[in-house]
Subunit: 196 residues, 2 copies
Amino acid sequence: MDKPTLPKTKRGQARRAQILDAAEQVIGARGFSAASIADITRGAETALGTFYIYFASKEELFRELVQEMGHATRAQVAGAIAKAPDRLSAERAGLEAFLRFVAARPALYRIVEEARFADPEAYQDYFSGFAEGYATGLREAEARGEVSPGNAEVRAWALMGMAKALGDRFVLWDDAPDIEHVVAEAHRMICRGLAP
Amino acid sequence: MDKPTLPKTKRGQARRAQILDAAEQVIGARGFSAASIADITRGAETALGTFYIYFASKEELFRELVQEMGHATRAQVAGAIAKAPDRLSAERAGLEAFLRFVAARPALYRIVEEARFADPEAYQDYFSGFAEGYATGLREAEARGEVSPGNAEVRAWALMGMAKALGDRFVLWDDAPDIEHVVAEAHRMICRGLAP
DNA sequence: ATGAAACATGAATCAGTATTCATGTATCCA
DNA sequence: TGGATACATGAATACTGATTCATGTTTCAT
């Protein structure tokens, strides 16, 4: 009933990690409401009741997974962007890093999308936070003259949306993803647009 | 048990429509798995069992709602695009029509996004079908010299993703949507990109 | 007008599953 | 090394909700 604290022993820490891993797989595969606690503990090779030693509820576990995705994505993208010499290069590197992340952890990606319904606040916070950093980067680039003037917030959301849709179609739903090719094509449009 | 056929009497047709209307509202508000058949029939002011006279299951009803959204969106966007003198104008008109549709029928929009989980096949079909038409339009425009050369499929998905993200942030999650402004900003990026 | 087909009803059935709890077993510090 | 704390177990609880069905009522072609 009480909100569980973090585990204190080695064994406890290992169990909690097992459950989180299994949850990523099971919820990623079946979806949040279809995934039962029993499925998750079975995947973690532990007893049903053990779940509640570490998590107060299914919802709390879910929130933790969404946050994990947030941290992991930011880390991946930020790392890739850091080395870029200018903003347009950063756009390319960031998009590629995102698509590679989707390829590497499809279950987590799906979980975030499901948060739109299962935990709308966490979902909005996740993307709003991401968009804020994105827009700031664009404004700084604009000040340095690396991108044309324009509304940074609209651009940030538009670019995030592009990345998500490309992730769906050319990574998640594609048998033989060719990330490099997709990134190259998309980047050309990001830089120059459609105008002839 | 058998798959119900379409109703044969006036009364039956009216009942079925009542149930579909109520379902759009209830599933749009609570989400697919949280919305119970009882909620829906209550909204339709009819008895629980009546639902199964018209629909084989909750899933079948859901599929029908997703298809309805598909038809409605296409009609809206296609109508708006038809009058455009060239492709870049068409992009602007299509984006604006889409955002206005999201504003007008948020429940249907939400239902489509939930189909990603509740009925993945319908979801993929919906967007793949849309993308196909989109890509064809871009190829024809490229042939007419109205847009620069580039991979039409990647561009189509990227543009759809942009529209979805802008719909989320600046229509669904915004207290005072300013569609015209968002469209103007986004359209500039679609035409010219970020390059200075 | 009338009876067969169509439709309406809601209690009962059936299948789950989130969460709790009483009863153990492992861990680890004093 | 003992015992207090942390952790493990899975059957039992408590509840929800999709689907069925036996029993009416309405519609409408004849």
